[in-house]
């Protein structure tokens, strides 16, 4: 068996199907997107090669950088919210009453499609008969915010359902990691007189640091390419106040029939995501992982 596995030909043979799939489904479209970015193309008629014009225009496009800023903000929010998810997971993992039920409740949004979540929150945010403003009115708020119509707060109004949507996913990951920590270590710490906070911060967190790093990458990369909920809830509006990179790309390609420029934006999105990923890997790269 060992002999077979060290045979380069066999390794290649086994890898080939996966390589082919990744190549066809991911790398070819990537390269094509970059290539279309070099064209003036309405998506329907003939393409015209215009060199790097689209890419140069993207660099100078205020709307692109604004949407990139919104994506960045979402990435920051998602990363910060990981702390909340982690705290919740720690509470759930320490045997409290009803933690099973709570875990299921947190998981619920994961089972809904983004469109359903968007519709649900559109109803909640409805300024005249939405749940949120009804509750605020109950507390005597005279002029409740226009959640999705006010350019200054629309972005945050959308972030909340996004964070809610992914809570279950991250809690599940953390929960699984926390459950893997041997009980004996925690017991030993308790005997040494460590408080629950100390156990969480000094023992549990370092032990699952590898998982935390992975979730940070997931959260940031996921945020940068986030699209669906925003598209359904506001379409990037009002007047671009909730536009993110992916929705801007979609609007250019399908809204304005400018596939060349849209592709260039898509390719920039790829490059930005790659750069950010590399940076996070560098920053979070640690000497050694703790072992138990």
């Amino acid at each position: 068996m060992n002999k077979v596995m060290s045979n380069k030909w066999f390794i290649t043979l086994y890898l080939l199907p996966a390589l082919l799939l990744v190549g066809i489904l991911i790398f070819i479209p990537l390269v094509l997107t970059g290539y279309y970015g070099l064209m003036r193309w309405d998506g329907i008629g003939a393409m015209e090669f215009i060199g790097l014009t689209n890419y140069i225009n993207v660099m100078q496009d205020g709307m692109f950088w604004q949407s990139a800023g919104h994506s960045g903000l979402l990435a920051v929010f998602s990363t910060l919210s990981l702390a909340i998810y982690l705290a919740v997971s720690m509470i759930l993992a320490s045997k409290i009453k009803g933690s099973d039920l709570l875990r299921k409740i947190y998981l619920l949004p994961m089972l809904l499609s983004s469109v359903a979540i968007a519709q649900l929150w559109i109803k909640i945010y409805n300024p005249s008969n939405g749940m949120l403003n009804e509750i605020l009115a109950w507390f005597g708020v005279q002029n409740p915010p226009l959640w999705l119509a006010d350019p200054n707060i629309v972005l945050y109004s959308i972030f909340i359902p996004i964070l809610w949507q992914y809570a279950g996913f991250y809690i599940l990951i953390y929960y699984a990691a926390l459950k893997n920590i041997p009980e004996s270590i925690i017991e030993a710490a308790k005997i040494d007189g460590a408080s629950p906070i100390q156990i969480a911060y000094r023992i549990k967190l370092p032990l699952i640091m590898g998982v935390v790093k992975v979730t940070i990458v997931l959260a940031i990369v996921g945020s940068l390419k986030y699209f669906d909920l925003i598209y359904v809830m506001t379409g990037g509006g009002p007047n671009g106040a909730s536009e993110v990179m992916a929705s801007y790309m979609y609007k250019l390609a399908f809204g304005t029939n400018n596939f060349g420029y849209g592709s260039a934006v898509g390719f920039m999105l790829l490059i930005i995501t790659l750069i950010v990923t590399v940076i996070i890997r560098k920053v979070t790269a640690d000497k050694e992982e703790l072992q138990y």
Partner: protein
């Protein structure tokens, strides 16, 4: 370490090359397949009695457009019964999905044989890309006369017709007669009267106008009407076709009037975050007194059995009022909605045209009576037993002095996007009327 990296990248390259060749083979195969299809299509054309399949795609799903959907199915059934060698292969998508799908299909040159399109600016890239077949040959034998004057023209480019309009819509303000009566109000004929109506409603804590400006074409209609009343029927069209300017004082004033209405709390709160559907449901649940929409919504206020009779009886409409004594209330915003196209590269183009012509004729006679749609073909309203509102609307159409096509349809796709975004900013008071004009000028001059 380095060596291993080199090996993997080599592998990736080799794999890439393999994939590339594999792909080009597949593409060739595809082309061959296409050619064979072509042949069989030609055979069918040869009249050897072989069957042909015409692909037809429309955007009236059963859920949201039940009446439309049913009539389409009936027309197809009848057509297939009369032409036994032709089968219609139907696919149905909802509006937004349809728009995306049709773009994707045309970029891969796989348009359905017959499908739906919008007029004017929307049509341009498809015509420029040789996607739609010119239809003048089929209009010549009498079909041309069936259409209401001005509707076919919206689908013309360089003197050729590329679409057969199915609907003709005009935009009105619908209002709830019960709410108006309760507060002693009457349908306004001037902007001052409209302002008064809005003030009275606001004083009585009734939301005056439902507006879903997340789909900013809804707000655009308000702006268009102000432009028409203040500057006359040509000022907006001229600004778009560059013989005029968006910085024309009349257009700037129209934008200012929009903001005046916003500042007077004329529209439901949070309108910039509401979809048109949500605004519509506010009006239909009697949470607001007025709602501006085109006549495609008429069935909801007349024949649609799913809407409570009591509400339908309460709905009236009025024409957009004159503004400061200026404007002609018989000048409408509106125009043809969707129309049929026939694909240029269709294998069964003759059959496709035959079906399209049949569809348009049948649609014309059935649309009003069965679906409550005002078709783009001439209807004799007197000969039919129609709800009063239809009779009135058909009469208005006869009396219309002008029909201004929706601004975002007149414009090219990218200018239209600028227009729609600016409309949201204008309504949100994020942009002055002057900036609004300048923004349009900038977008239009980039196109030149």
């Amino acid at each position: 370490m380095l060596k291993r990296k080199a090996v993997t990248s080599m592998c990736a390259l080799v794999a890439g090359a393999l994939i590339a060749t594999g792909c080009s083979d597949a593409a060739d195969g595809g082309n061959n397949g296409g050619a064979e299809n072509n042949n069989s299509g030609n055979n069918a054309n040869g009249g050897s009695g072989e069957s042909a399949t015409v692909e037809f795609m429309h955007l009236w799903p059963q859920g949201s457009s039940a009446q439309h959907h049913r009539i389409v199915n009936e027309i197809i059934e009848d057509f297939e019964a009369e032409n036994e060698n032709i089968t219609i292969d139907l696919s149905v998508l909802s509006n937004e999905q349809y728009k995306d799908q049709i773009t994707i299909l045309s970029s891969s040159n796989e348009l359905p044989d017959v499908g739906m399109t919008w007029a004017a600016g929307y049509l341009d890239p498809f015509v420029d890309g040789n996607m739609f077949a010119p239809l003048d040959d089929m209009l010549e034998d009498g079909l041309r006369d069936e259409f209401v004057a001005g509707t076919l023209e919206a689908y013309e480019k360089d003197g050729q017709s590329y679409g057969l309009p199915l609907e003709l819509n005009t935009v009105y303000v619908y209002y709830n007669k019960a709410i108006f009566e309760e507060h002693g109000l009457e349908a306004p004929e001037t902007y001052d009267e409209l302002e008064n109506v809005i003030n009275v409603l606001n004083e009585n804590n009734v939301e005056p106008i439902a507006l879903g400006n997340r789909d900013s074409w809804t707000g655009s209609m308000w702006y268009m009407y102000f432009a028409d009343r203040i500057g006359g029927s040509d000022v907006l069209t001229n600004a778009i076709n560059r013989s005029g300017s968006f910085e024309d004082p009349a257009l700037v004033e129209a934008a200012a009037k929009v903001q005046e209405m916003v500042q007077n709390d004329s529209f439901v709160s949070g309108f910039n975050g509401l979809a048109d559907e949500e605004a519509k449901s506010m009006f239909m649940n009697e949470q607001s007194a007025m709602y501006m929409i085109a006549t495609w919504d008429l069935p909801n206020y007349t024949t649609n059995e799913d809407v409570p009779q009591e509400f339908r009886d309460n709905v009236g409409y009025f024409k957009f009022p004159t503004v400061d004594g200026a404007g002609d209330t018989d000048s409408f915003v509106g125009g043809p909605g969707v129309g049929l196209f026939v694909a240029e590269n269709s294998d069964v183009q003759d059959e496709a045209k035959q079906f399209a012509a049949y569809f348009v004729e049948q649609w014309g006679s059935r649309a009003v009576t069965d679906a409550g749609v005002i078709p783009a073909t001439v209807v004799d309203g007197d000969a039919l037993d129609l709800p009063d509102m239809y009779v009135d609307v058909l009469q208005d159409l006869n009396d219309a002095t002008n029909l201004t096509l929706y601004a975002d349809v007149q414009m090219s796709a990218s200018v239209a996007q600028t227009h729609l975004d600016s409309i949201q900013a204008l309504f949100g008071l994020d942009m002055t009327p002057e900036e609004f004009g300048a923004k349009h000028e900038e977008a239009l001059s980039e196109e030149e």
